[in-house]
Subunit: 219 residues, 4 copies
């Protein structure tokens, strides 16, 4: 009746948004505990009991703030996103040259992926398991690809990129290539030196798009 969180099913919505400082602390401990357990045991093997234990609260307290594993996982994701929130690259660095932009973008992505490999593995796993989270990922991937497709189109219009490429498909393909390589190297632990990885991926982007000097004449 009173300001309850709008949950999916609207059933007997029992979960609470913490009103007191103490509640805030407990909820926080649970999210932290969940992250710890998820990273350690994986999504499937994480038991709610263990999360509560890791948070140092009674098992029942979990249900004060979350209805199930899925929900607390969403909270972990949210928390991680806030953590990772940097100002956007271009805005920060003012890069305009396409090559530099590609390098900066790939470099930053791979660095961050490497840094949070455990978490990325987890996200990858959950996307395979939970439809809700999978949908979220698709959405993000699409938004990202759309942005990149626009950049590619601009380059094509300026005569700086291969005009025969479909911008959207290309954007998807190149992004997927990078993210999959990040997964391969940092989650599956196939050892490739960072610089070699970035360098090769950059080169494939540049070659793939047939990037030319802004002037327009080939090197």
């Amino acid at each position: 009746m009173t300001g309850q969180v709008p949950t999916e099913d609207g059933a007997h919505a029992r979960i609470t948004t913490p009103r007191s400082a103490r509640g805030e602390r407990t909820r926080g401990a649970l999210v932290r505990g969940a992250r710890e357990v998820f990273e350690r045991d994986g999504y499937l093997d994480a038991r709610i009991t263990d999360i509560s234990k890791a948070a140092g609260v009674a098992s029942g307290s979990f249900y004060t703030y979350f209805n199930n594993k899925e929900e607390i996982f969403a909270a972990v994701v949210e928390q991680v996103q806030e953590e990772m929130l940097h100002p956007h690259l271009r805005e920060r660095t003012g890069i305009t040259d396409a090559r530099e932009m590609i390098d900066a973008s790939n470099r930053e992505y791979l660095r961050s992926y490497k840094q949070n490999a455990r978490l990325m593995a987890l996200f990858e796993q959950v996307a395979q398991i939970d439809p809700t989270f999978r949908a979220l990922r698709i959405q993000r991937g699409n938004a990202f690809a759309q942005r990149n497709a626009k950049l590619i189109r601009q380059l094509q219009e300026r005569g700086e990129a291969d005009p025969s490429l479909d911008p959207l498909v290309t954007a998807h393909a190149l992004s997927n290539m990078v993210s999959r390589m990040a997964y391969m190297v940092y989650v599956l632990e196939q050892r490739i030196a960072f610089e070699r990885l970035v360098g090769t991926l950059n080169q494939i982007w540049i070659n793939g798009l047939q990037l030319r000097e802004p002037g327009g004449h080939a090197s």
Copy 2:
């Protein structure tokens, strides 16, 4: 861990390799049933009971041939591989031109992926869940990349491909790009027309490698 009886696979030696024709039939039914259930319910939600039911045998019979879900999944994979076993492309078609080879290879891969989308989704899922199967995939990916890396090296030596690219990393990157796009389109059902997909991916391979005419002079 200590002094295991030297059985076939080191397990607790209970499963039987069917000797009789009847046994062969039962085992076959189980594998077929498993595939059906896996494709329908996904790996996680597939219950051994359901597999037995789908196979039309008693639940207990499962354990005559397999020890657990993982093992029967392996059997499904094996069966599928036999099915998909075509004679290798080059051997079959005798293609030698790199561009043609890329097209033939991507085209065949995507066609087959589309054809078996359900199964591919399943494999993707299980690779996220089961370490054994994950290792298998890594191994295959590596073998495949190694083969492609060798081809790339040959092209570079003949002056037909960008010599600055790391052959192995490039091979991994381009393969991952294709397989990930296949996943995106045929499992996640992001609609992209087949020809546009193949065409764009081919072009990125060609551009990415900076493939030149066998003659050796740039366009």
Copy 3:
């Protein structure tokens, strides 16, 4: 268990009889909330949390005034009884004729039952569940039957009622008949028109007792 403080009811002496006006208000809100929840959800599904919520007080406040669901139910019953407390029929109306009395009494009972059907259903339910409340009902039923038995005996002595009937058993039987019909019609919602119901029940009373004109001569 040992050496209990001699409190009002011998319980573990925690509940408070409100001293302040604020306390009075809170207690009242709880009883009102309980009634609402009991009528809505039934006794079994009424959760103490819900009662507190319906009362607009914190869940913990419940225990300031009551120890458990049973106790607050008793409070609801008490409150309802006060509400329903009419001056007694005869005293109010001065009826002395047996037939008129039967009609007035049945009519009033059924009217009130219909009016408070939800509550009556609740009482019926709780009587099935809670021994304390069940005992209370038995007691009331007996008191009521005893009163009626006395009237029947008087009628028999005056030659106005069948002398072969056991007054107490008859009193119970006829009362039970009426209350059970009320339950059937207004709780179980078996549609019978009010007047037909009252009329038939009156007639069975009259026939059952073989009521004769006060004068004493048979019909």
Copy 4:
């Protein structure tokens, strides 16, 4: 897929109708255990664990045959009904006189109720709690009343019963009177001697209906 019991929701119908003798034995033990526990602890306090324990089977075995407490209760009811199934009174005894029929019928009903008091208490309780079972009771009550109403109508037509009574309402009322008295005496344990009880109730039926000699002239 194969001959499953048609359950209400048809979901993942997991319960089994025993195919083997052993299964039959286990199911039987569960129903017997349930009856024992229900009679001992009441419906509400009966835990599925206890039922399994009383049946001497593992807790999980319960779910081989039943999905929940409600279902096994239904099985108990069914079993009891089979037990109580006597050939119908009239058919058995060939009674045609209304008075004798009333006596025989009430006598038999009360005898049986007394005999199975614990069970009847249980049924009464569950009817208050479980809508499914409540509906069943209503249905039965209606069927029974309809039969009796027909008899009353016949008597009225033959001039042997008070023609002013509504047959259906009267039938309900008199039946409810008897069943409620049975409840009062044998469940609530209000001591009334059997013969006095039957005698008084018979008399109220006879008086209530104003039963006359078949010949038609009053006594």
